[in-house]
Amino acid sequence: MRKYIIFLLPLCIVFFIYAATQLCTHFHKLKVTSLELPDGSPEILVTLSGKLRLNLCSIENDPPMYCWFLQMDGPSFKIASTTPVWGYALSLDDILTMPNWFEVQLGRDKETEHFCSRHVNQQVTVKGFLFHAHTGHHHAPFLMNLKEIYQEEDGAKVVQ
């Protein structure tokens, strides 16, 4: 009996270490790559809610520029951080290390500018396609190609 234990114990230890390593690798891969949409897959339309903010986002000595951001609420962040996106995706770790991990940068165009300036610091809902920050002109971990922006209370809406 003792002979069998001596023989089986190292085998069990090796198996345990192997299984643990495989499991860790699997979870690491899942964490790092799961948010990148495979090539050719259609982008996923998401709806997010939160507070609309206007923040300064100039770089170094360049002239000051302002950008519209959506500060997401909890459920919206959950959607944003689990939706596979077009392009070069960040890992959840990368997202959470950014101080403004809860923000979505919205585009600036004439159609939405008027709506945004009337609803600054108010609760709004946006619909669009998300992608992740990958250049120096991206000032939040999430960015959105906006399709629709609206506020339920006053019924104001902009569709692109």
Partner: protein, 229 residues
Amino acid sequence: MVFVKAKGGPPNVGDPEEMFTVQYLDEKGNMLIRSGGKRAWRCNNPGNLRKSPYSTGKDRHSIGIAGIGKDCYAVYPDYQTGHEALVVMLKGSKYLSLSLRAAMQRYDRTNHNYINEIIAITGFDPDRTIKSLNTQEFEIFWKAIETVEKWEVGHEEFIDKWYISGVHKKHGVINEYLVQKGDSTIWILKEDCIKLATENRLHATIVHRKNGSVFLRPEYGHHSFDTIS
């Protein structure tokens, strides 16, 4: 000089907070600090690519990251490597099928005149796709992006890492180290040497004894210091 590692440093006195410096280290531990200019030059990153799994991935050969707060950038060992990171991204499946207008809207969300600047330089139709550009046109296109991203050279400071070649002992205890600074040598007091080693300016390992005393010993794999009388 081949750099193997890089990290961000604090801005120089008087510079804005976001004007971080970049510290490059070569294999021997010598350091080059880049300050001023534009971040594209400071990071050897002409496309101003942010820190991301793409820009810092193994295939892109980045040697570190630098930046402040939410603005963190990949740092490359030289311009060519940084340039390749930009070109591979533009030629990759994510950007290739986009029109120049759509691609630039993805590239820069802040400045909606970005595409106009690119068109003013290249003269291309903004509705053409990146895929439709031939080799010469693609070169004009990436050069235009690098121009808009601004590659402005700033100030470089080289700090070499010195070697200890010998020691002076007094009553059996080291009190001075002979430090080799390039071609010249100089005797430096033990306390000052420990300070230099703490600042990573000396090839030596700091040893803290249980009794509280501190001394230096050669780095792993190096010869022991010679006692010079």
